[in-house]
Symmetry: C2
Subunit: 604 residues, 2 copies
């Protein structure tokens, strides 16, 4: 279906917005009136600019507080409308959104509202314009879509139809099945927005917290399916008021918006995208470091062995169990120290995975590949992390590991099996997200990789609340924790981490303790509280306390975890899950974050 | 009364918090359990640190989900309590806050709740500890203060009392008069917090948006008065969960907190502060500039005349009507260009004004005054702007203008009366506020200067929503608009402005146009909309359009205003108010902000 977006959804001048919308591949725009009013471009300029960019002007909006008013106010309102019709003719826009009135002038009289809307539609038709009447969720007398439709039906004018808005409908928990009772040709427009589920005043919720479909908690796909079944064939148009998007780069937000619509069409069964290939695990984590010593020292002390060296690039492979870490000395920034630059994801079909990612507008990473290297496909996640789709060691397929020349055991920096610490693989990685793109990230992982986002959680750092939202594959085969800082300041330096799995955390911790691994010290007070909270046996509590192991549990299992100190931007976590524990120890995050600040200060 | 604050109200480690609390002059603290758990300090360390700082530990909190549970859960809960009593003994804390249960284990049985609380109080007393039971606004069965008190009364134990929390009581719109029916000695603790009036889930409201009394919309002073009338003599203790305060500097937040309590005691009639001397107008605005040319060029073109030169400092006085602008070349930063550094406020009693400001912890500005200079007292506002209290040209009092040597007319940069543009005085100044200190600023102007804050408004800039909150004296004699940017990034460069009053904006605008003053161009689309919105006569609209004058009106009058381009960090506005218009043209802010971005880019 045609795709459109309201200019209010993006930051910048009207000109910047149009450019961004066109670049992201939209077919049209809704011109939000305030964007035109504040623009130095004349309506004719805007029309020409949109035409040059290949954009239709699908809607002009909003026209407020029109209907069901006393006669003298009606006269003023009709004059006001005539003036807008003139602007629309200059713009080349043929549909005007009229919102249900919130004015104290309006009376509760559906017949009068219908009569006035009929009159307005008649005037509009003289200009070749159609009126799309929409119920605001906080409309004074008309606040539901079915009520708005009854008034439109009663007004019975060919230039009058209704506009449906997923936020206004779903925020009030109206039943969207009734949409199918509206004749499709009378649905003049469809505006789409999602929102996180929040118990708050609907006007504030609407004006500040809307997001693109797939980023919130509303069933926008279901609503869309009903609307198409009703016979609607107009554009799918996003209208999102969001405090963060208003600050973000317009070009990037527009791409996020388009990705949302593509995924939405698929969810609603309206379009097929290349099949989702959900990754089944981590192939590797790739760290870049100009100076590898602090990092390889840490890896060695964690029981990793250097097992390979890339044939053509300055990259080393370190392994322990199924955990593989690449250390890459090319292209890193010495000042920021080691950082996590890429993640390898096990994929049953890397080509298909890349096709889907490309279709969903994920940037494909330019390959810096030698002639003989095994093909390795990657896309960039919203935070810049490169995601490689890998088939590690599967018979009949080339494996990226073939590009590495094995390193003889017992050379410096390697460990033989006796030195291993029991790490079995990578449990999850945690990636700090750009402050302006946290919603984008959740949608990216959901739509591109088929991972399921958890609810967002607050984590109290001593210097502000972080938010964290994990995405995971079915059965927890792949887990990524996405974190966002309290404010956009200094975000480039925020830490990333790699969580390693073990089946016996006590043995692993003891082994590491024995070899002097720098483990993050946890305050004694934490264990006093832990004992009180869970009534753990004294002996068990003593072991946790001795080894700086944190503990959590939920209805289905237990979670044990400890942390290393931070090297550059990166630290490691070692975790053990028992039963069906599916979380990340969020309850312990406050203690961990405070301990990291303490460790960084190097003092109590 | 004694003053205390919960550690959760401040950012940082527990040690930083204690230091900040003591420095701000508090008598005690509530230790928020998570702050202790995350601290590397032992309870004994904390006790010693607090004692060294002269702080009592007035409360340990919170203890959750205790009462009205099945027997086996009760046993666990009592064990949990015993463990906390031990921690409290180590801390030297003698009062434990117990919140009403939110657990699904809890049953709706007041008798059982009372029985369990009696049991808990008995155990507590063995450790010399008292239990203060508080109703959470979202408690499962007990969510109002009067209900909590009935349970405490029924439990009837000397070591059991109630804790009142202004947020929990006022957020539910409970009637606080009932507090007077509780015997004062059974009110073991009083927690104070304000909050902006918001229609949202009370738990989220409480956890993210609380603020210090006087910064929000709850009648905390009234509640306090009832509590004191009940006979409460314990500490006034602030407990504020606020996302912004969590990020702000703890030392500064603690001072803000103490200012709030001092003003609150005064509002509740519990303490007298030096009398409020509400300023009656602007004496001057002081701009600093390393290179004065762009600024004095602008002042000259606006019709200001250079009328004086300071006897001992590199400061010039420029005047027009009652508008006085000082141009100071000392101490300014060349890179940021001209900026507004100080404001002179007309005060009937400068000494008294400074006494009040000092009592309310406003930093007194060190005087850089020559031996013969007229005394001029200043304090620093939260954004660093210096506020001078002046008595300009009053007979019998020295005037700051006496320090200026008159400049002969017709010298360069002066204008004779024929060149004046009709500016009569300063209408208001607009000051961008530090992102972390917007609530602090409103309280500062309210408590220190006796100005009344308006409601906060959103202003849509092309790159994010600004918030704006004006403070004004009675009858609009003094108006200051406080603005805060969408995020803390780059806030040092945000612009300030001086709004000049005229009685005839058209004549002033024509005069300025004639002399080539650089006025901010307003888009033609704005006037098309203005005509439609208000049905202004074509001729009048034409004049506004020609002169780039913006227009607004409210129920009592009209507002006309135009802007100059920005020089350094500063721009000027010229305004005319008719009737009783009391606003600032906020409706036009979107257009002005967009026009400023356009002008800054120097291109359409």
């Amino acid at each position: 279906m045609r795709k459109s977006i309201a200019t209010v959804s993006l930051s910048g001048s009207l000109s910047e917005k149009l450019t961004a919308v066109a670049a992201a591949g939209f077919d049209g725009v809704e011109i939000f009136e305030n964007d035109l009013i504040a623009s130095p471009l004349t309506p004719e300029d805007v029309r020409a600019r949109a035409a040059d960019l290949g954009l239709a002007i699908d809607l002009y909006q909003p026209f407020r507080d029109f209907e069901a008013v006393p006669d003298e106010v009606l006269d003023q309102n009709l004059r006001r409308a005539e003036s807008k019709f003139e602007v629309m003719e200059r713009l080349g826009a043929d549909t005007l959104l009229v919102c249900s009135s919130v004015s104290p002038d309006a009376v509760d009289d559906d017949g009068l509202a219908a009569e006035h809307l009929n009159l307005l539609a008649g005037r509009a038709r003289e200009h070749g314009i159609r009126i799309a009447y929409e119920a605001l969720a906080w409309g004074r007398h008309i606040s539901t879509y079915d009520h708005a439709w009854r008034v439109v039906e009663a007004a019975d004018h060919p230039a009058l139809g209704t506009c449906l808005d997923s936020f206004h409908i779903l925020s009030r928990a109206s039943d969207p099945r009734g949409i199918e009772e509206i004749p499709g040709e009378k649905i003049f427009f469809l505006q789409l927005a999602d929102a996180p589920l929040m118990a708050m005043d609907v006007l504030q919720w609407s004006r500040h917290y809307r997001c693109f479909p797939g980023q919130g908690g509303l069933d926008v796909a279901g609503l869309l399916a009903h609307t198409v079944r009703a016979g609607y064939r107009g554009p799918l148009s996003l209208e999102v008021f969001n405090d963060v998007f208003r600050q973000a780069d317009a070009g990037r937000t527009a791409v996020d918006a388009m990705r949302s619509l593509l995924a939405l069409e698929e969810s609603a069964g309206l379009a097929a995208l290349p099949e989702t290939v959900v990754p089944s695990g981590f192939a590797f984590a790739e760290l870049t470091a100009a100076d590898t010593e602090p990092l390889t020292g840490m890896l060695g002390s964690l029981g990793f062995a250097r097992t390979g060296r890339h044939r053509g690039k300055p990259v080393e492979l370190w392994e322990q169990g199924e955990a593989r870490v690449l250390v890459n000395t090319s292209g890193s920034d010495r000042r920021s120290g080691p950082s996590l630059a890429a993640v390898g994801l096990e994929s049953a079909d890397p080509d298909a995975a890349v096709r889907r990612a490309e279709t969903l507008l994920a940037p494909v990473v330019p390959r810096r590949r030698g002639a003989d290297d095994v093909p390795l496909d990657a896309v960039a996640a919203p935070d810049g992390t490169e995601l490689f789709f890998c088939r590690t060691g599967r018979s009949g397929h080339p494996s990226w590991t073939d590009d590495f020349t094995p390193v003889a055991a017992r050379t410096a920096g390697t460990a033989d099996d006796g030195d291993r610490a029991g790490v079995t693989g990578i449990d999850h990685v945690a990636l700090p997200q750009p402050w302006h793109h946290f919603d984008e990230a959740a949608l990216f992982y959901r739509s591109v990789l088929g991972l399921k986002p958890d609810e967002s959680q607050d984590l109290a750092d001593p210097y502000g609340l972080f938010r964290s939202r994990a995405v995971a594959g079915p059965g927890g085969t792949l887990r990524i924790a996405l974190n966002v800082a309290p404010s956009p300041e200094g975000e480039a330096t925020r830490s990333q981490h790699i969580a390693l799995a073990t089946d016996d955390i006590v043995a692993t911790a003891r082994r590491l303790r024995g070899r002097g691994t720098a483990v993050l010290p946890i305050p004694a007070n934490y264990y006093d509280d832990l004992g009180a909270r869970y009534g753990l046996p004294a002996e068990r509590l003593g072991v946790l306390r001795e080894l700086d192991i944190l503990y959590d549990r939920d209805g289905s299992g237990e979670f044990f975890h400890f942390y290393t100190v931070t090297v550059g931007r990166v630290f490691f976590e070692v975790v053990q899950r028992t039963g069906g524990y599916g979380g990340y120890g969020a309850r312990n995050a406050t203690v961990r974050l405070a301990a990291q600040h303490t460790a960084q200060l190097g003092a109590v």
